[in-house]
């Protein structure tokens, strides 16, 4: 199944995002090997050069380590991974808050709502 991409961001950055997520959530464990560029390219139906660019991006970030003929591996540095995870979570919350702010929902209301939805309880109506 070809991966879906948005229209605004360069594809290689979106692929880098997807790979980063897989590293953060442990799908590609620390020290483990990621699939070869060609394999990812075929699965995603994306140009292999673009995938390579994404991989190079993550190498520059220190998340991936290229070991010549053996392929590409996730870093063993769990600290680095945690750091990236935190950054991603931070960005997520940031975007979320900005969006909420546009709708004039303040942070306290947000925190309450988050707890309610997460616990599955509401007395509140779900959106129609």
């Amino acid at each position: 199944m070809a991966w879906r991409f948005n229209d605004h961001t360069p594809v290689y950055l979106q692929i880098a995002d997807k790979l980063r997520s897989s590293i953060i959530n442990g799908e590609f464990p620390p020290g483990g090997q990621i699939p070869p560029v060609r394999q990812i390219a075929v699965a995603a139906a994306v140009n292999p050069n673009t995938v390579q660019r994404a991989v190079s991006e993550l190498e520059a970030e220190g998340l991936l380590v290229a070991r010549s003929t053996y392929g590409c591996f996730v870093t063993e540095d769990s600290e680095a991974i945690l750091r990236v995870r935190r950054d991603a979570a931070y960005r997520l919350v940031n975007d979320f808050l900005s969006f909420a702010q546009e709708m004039s929902i303040d942070s306290d209301e947000l925190i309450t709502l988050i707890k309610e939805v997460a616990n599955g309880s509401s007395g509140m109506q779900e959106p129609v």
Binding site: M1, A2, D7, H8, T9, V11, R38, V42, N47, P48
Partner: protein
């Protein structure tokens, strides 16, 4: 050494109007390039000229530094818009036909791909559905280890599932020593597969060219959106 090079290429038909005018460009190996433009702007004409089916009115075309002719045909693998095989052959006879004439034809790969798609190799070509015929043609073209692949509208008139298969086959055929040139007007489907693009204009000129991801980086727009802008009616 550029895989494909055009120097001041002109092509006009009997009516006298130039379909290609003063076209000059060069494509290195290891790229998947999109030749884009509205219908009738000369994409197919350019492809056919490189394939050796049409003779330039003026100018030169080189594949791997060799002028287009008998020897470049063994370097170029061409997929036309239409199905081009005679109907009395069976699929396996057609595979042998390709193997007979093209030294770079990979018979095993062809049979593997045919098997993957559950195509009966003993079937007569005339009994296959249009979609299956197109897939067979694609498989034969992509089973060659050519320097330059020319795919003329490979996904037009094909259902979405088949499109994915075709794009996947194109990507898996990618090789750093060869180049794939695709013409299409279905840009959003093909965009993520392209390294670079060339927009062709009605005057037979290259209107714009560049890297596909650079378009997004620089403008925040997809290639499809850019295309609509450039060719706005």
């Amino acid at each position: 050494m550029a895989v494909l090079e055009c120097k001041n290429l002109y092509k006009s038909y009997k009516s006298g109007k130039y379909v290609l005018a003063d076209m000059s460009f060069s494509v290195p190996s290891g790229k998947i390039v999109g030749l884009l433009g509205p219908n009738g702007c000369g994409k197919s004409t350019l492809i056919k000229t490189v394939a050796g089916l049409l003779v330039p009115t003026k100018g030169e075309v080189f594949v791997d530094g060799i002028p287009v002719g008998e020897s470049t045909k063994s370097l170029v693998s061409y997929l036309p818009e239409r199905t081009y095989f005679n109907s009395w052959m069976h699929v396996d006879e057609l595979v042998s036909y390709f193997a007979d004439f093209y030294a770079d034809f990979d018979k095993e790969r062809a049979y593997q791909l045919l098997f993957d798609l559950s195509i009966d190799t003993k079937a007569r070509l005339s009994t296959l559905s249009k979609g299956t015929k197109e897939k067979v043609q694609l498989i034969l073209v992509m089973s060659r280890r050519a320097r330059l692949y020319l795919l003329d509208e490979p996904i037009a008139g094909v259902d979405p599932a088949a499109r994915e298969y075709i794009l996947g086959t194109i990507v898996s055929n990618y090789d750093p020593s060869s180049t794939i040139m695709i013409t299409t007007h279905l840009i959003s489907d093909v965009e993520q597969v392209l390294d670079e693009f060339m927009f062709l204009g009605y005057g037979g000129q290259i209107v714009m060219a560049g890297g596909t991801d650079d378009v997004r980086a620089e403008t925040g727009k997809s290639l499809d959106a850019l295309f609509r802008e450039v060719y706005r009616c």
